[in-house]
């Protein structure tokens, strides 16, 4: 899986550029590079549905983020405790990665998944649903409650944006 590791290194470099560069437009473009690399990684990992969805979602995400960077404001002041804060954050991340390295030995190794439920789905999905794309048959038949909840969350998010960005605030009514 050399190509996957190279792609992940590319994504990590893109993420570092996105975090550290000062110009906001460059930062947003670097995030776009990370997202498109993720789409390619999905394609390598044999998930074509996700590759299509991630590609389109990344384009929309870029449009929304560029909309946000139109306001020019660059708070990049270094305060007195810059060194202490950075050091403690890096310490925390090092501890996190160390524990993750210890734990990763116990999950199934890369390339050998435990497919307890998936074996069942793959064997009888065609008879039970009639759909030949198994991802669709999982999200719309076996786990359709999940999709119903997702539709609810999406509805709430749309309502939230409409409420936050409404034209006029509520006026105080005198009694």
């Amino acid at each position: 899986m050399l190509e996957l590791q190279l792609l992940l290194l590319f994504m990590i470099v893109g993420a570092i550029i996105a975090v550290e560069v000062k110009d906001m437009i460059s930062s947003v473009i670097a995030v776009g590079a990370v997202g498109l690399g993720l789409s390619l990684a999905f394609l390598i990992l044999k998930a074509p549905d996700l590759a299509i969805t991630q590609l389109i979602a990344e384009i929309l995400c870029l449009i929304i983020l560029i909309r946000a960077t139109l306001k020019k404001d660059l708070p990049l002041v270094r305060d007195g405790r810059w060194f202490f804060n950075t050091f403690s954050t890096l310490c925390f991340i090092t501890v996190f990665l160390g524990f993750a390295f210890l734990v990763l030995k116990d999950i199934p190794p890369f390339g050998v998944p435990t497919m307890k439920i998936a074996r069942e789905v793959l064997s009888c999905s065609l008879d039970k649903t009639g759909a030949t794309n198994f991802v669709t048959s999982v999200i719309l038949d076996f786990r359709a409650f999940d999709t119903l909840g997702e539709a609810t969350v999406l509805f709430c998010a749309v309502m939230g944006v409409a409420t936050v960005m409404r034209k006029t605030g509520r006026k105080k009514t005198k009694i």
Partner: protein
């Protein structure tokens, strides 16, 4: 299609011409992805995003009026509720045979367009919901903010 009257809205002539050629194809591709979701990669989520992207493409190139003339805010609000309710109605209709989300229509032959029972109908409902929902997020983020300034 769109007349350039006194005030220049949207982007330059090159962008407008290319958009005029491609926006219909993008919409058609989205509908194709939705309808073939159960036999090939794709489905309601990807297709709905592509449909939303075609309208946003139109809005970015021609300005806000051109997109709002085809799908106004009120219509978008109604359509989004219709998508959600359609999905719920399909789910509740499963009670005719026994339980929630029962695949109650005949399965048909695999690899045909009309197969797999309720899955294509659910795909269509989700595509309406996701596409119109993201388009209305975009309307709200871009247009209402502009209105406030004027």
């Amino acid at each position: 299609m769109i007349k350039n009257d006194k005030k220049e809205v949207g982007m330059t002539l090159i962008v407008k011409t290319i958009t005029r050629l491609t926006v219909g194809l993008i919409l058609l591709f989205g509908i194709y992805i939705v309808l073939h979701g159960h036999i090939s990669p794709g489905g309601g989520f990807a297709g709905g995003l592509i449909i939303a992207l075609s309208f946003i493409h139109l809005m970015l190139a021609f300005g806000r009026e051109a997109a709002l003339k085809r799908l106004s805010e009120a219509k978008a609000a109604i359509l989004e509720s219709v998508g959600a309710l359609l999905f719920l109605i399909i789910a509740v209709l499963g009670f005719t045979g026994g339980y929630f989300f029962l695949n109650f229509i005949n399965k048909g032959k695999p690899f045909n367009l009309f197969s797999a029972g309720i899955i294509p109908l659910c795909n269509i409902a989700i595509a309406i919901k996701v596409g119109v929902g993201l388009f209305s997020i975009f309307i709200v983020l871009v247009i209402l903010q502009e209105d406030r300034k004027e």
